[in-house]
């Protein structure tokens, strides 16, 4: 995960996601952690935000700040929400940790008119090099776990993700990749270079 923060104290990748959200909209942030993005969206964009977070520590931190966050699981709890309940359903750095990424994606686009999804790109050249050169599972800044401890159980490359969107009839409305410092790369996300040099991808999805 890219840990650099901006001058507002919000993580660079979260700030990039926040920039994609229209002011005064309804947002559901799934895997919202301690609520940093929701807090920023509320203060800067007057967003009516809700969050779901798996870890109770994250939930308590968020609720203690006055944010509307519940303890829950992207895999099991999204089905409860009615269709079109939100303008945006945001899933940041969580898709790869879900049991059923496909079902989660479908639910995101049922609940939200748009979904914003960010995920680490397993196709990044450093990952490829570690497997090819050392024959080992990659451990990098953005994938900082050993194989036996990682919560990430469904890795994909940017290309894999695009293909799943095609299969599900999901339109990728906007997308970009980030370098290891969290800066956006000026390359189209479907390009081979993006899949090689992007550490992380952020996509705005539409039904």
């Amino acid at each position: 995960m890219i840990a650099t923060t901006t001058s507002n104290g919000i993580r660079v990748d979260l700030k990039l996601i926040a920039d994609l959200v229209e002011p005064r909209t309804r947002v559901l942030d799934i895997g919202c952690g301690d609520g940093a993005l929701l807090d920023y969206l509320y203060k800067v964009k007057q967003v009516d935000g809700r969050g779901i977070e798996l870890s109770m520590a994250g939930v308590r931190a968020a609720v203690s700040q006055g944010l509307s966050v519940i303890q829950g699981d992207a895999d099991t709890d999204l089905k409860d929400y009615p269709s079109d309940a939100f303008d945006y359903a945001i899933l940041s750095q969580t898709l790869q940790a879900t049991r059923d990424p496909r079902g989660v994606l479908e639910n995101l686009l049922r609940i939200g008119r748009r979904a914003i999804v960010s995920f680490p790109n397993f196709g990044h050249w450093r990952n490829r090099l570690q497997i090819l050169g050392q024959g080992r599972m990659p451990v990098t800044e953005s994938l900082a776990y050993q194989w036996w401890e990682t919560p990430n159980i469904h890795f994909c490359t940017i290309r894999d993700f695009s293909e799943l969107c095609d299969t599900l009839g999901i339109t990728v409305e906007k997308s970009f990749t980030l370098d290891r410092h969290g800066h956006p790369l000026q390359r189209p996300v479907h390009s081979r270079r993006a899949n090689l040099f992007g550490v992380e991808a952020i996509c705005v999805l539409k039904r």
Binding site: D48, R50, V63, L67, S68, I70, Q71
Partner: protein
Amino acid sequence: MSQDRTISRAKTVSLGADRPIRLACGVDLGPFTVAFETYGTLNADRSNAILICHALTLDQYVASPNPVTGKPGWWHTLVGPGKAIDTDRFFVICPNVLGGCMGSTGPGEINPATGTPWGLSFPVITIGDMVQAQVRLIDHLGIDQLFCVIGGSMGGMQTLEWAHSHPDRVFAAVPIATSYRHSAQNIAFHEVGRQAITTDPDWHGGDYFSHGVKPHRGLAVARMAAHITYLSEPALHRKFGRSLQDRDSVGYGFDADFQVESYLRYQGSTFVDRFDANSYLYITRAMDYFDLATEAGGVLANAFRDTTVRWCVISFSSDWLFPTSESRAIVHALNAVAANVSFVEVNSDKGHDAFLLDEPEFHDTLTGFLKGAEERRGLPVEPRKAPKP
């Protein structure tokens, strides 16, 4: 800020003389009395009122000493100047429930029609009836919308009922350690308690007043059984283990050999001094009858359709009387109507009782939720003062 702002004043008010409330059982009740306590000051636009709903055997003395027991208010760690429910900022109202025995109309009070205690002639009441009586109190106080309704256990049931039946009069709701319906297991425990009372020869069919006695033994046993359900096995083990009471070895008899027995006997014996046996029957019955899902046609989410209330649902990990799964069911129903809801399960090994104890995670959650709700409600935000020692 003058000191008297936070001093509580014991109050009772007679309501419903001209317009009785229609109870769920079909009886019209009025006039009826509500005894209540208030703390803090109602602001000019009457927007800072918090209603606290009490649990089964508690009362209106939420933050001030109980005149019967002399003990501090049951939530004095939570309610007061600079505390989570800050009486420097909020006007806190805590009424004794209908059917209670601390001044509100209940089976131990005098029936104005007969001049004798109601006893079993008191109509069976429900959680909805308790809330109806509270609505009249809030009307009487000239408050259109409560900033927040907060309650644990049976108080949580009233909180859910308020938000369900009067969503426009509740800005925020905090149901704590509660359920949308009383479980079969909980009804079973209540029935044990009621049987203990009604089989006590001193109960006299509920007419013990005229016999000059009280069913102390039955009520004490009811309390002992109930008290176990408020704790957890780890909490009991930590507190007592198998330690013996005032002896080095077991006595080969039926005295209170174990500390846990002695503790329970003490809990039972002190309870009878402050609680009325008939009230216990009526209030446990009200809890048993509570089922918001059935009330809403079988689907709990329908109880909250189009709700504009801001919710914060709180449960405790070791509470087996109102387990987290029941809070989660409430949260799922609220999600299904896209309600604004927070949900925290507080880690505690103290069982159901945790909601009455000094649990920092719980207090932080409530403080943060109220702060967020205040901002969104547009209440004037002043810097919070440090709690007074």
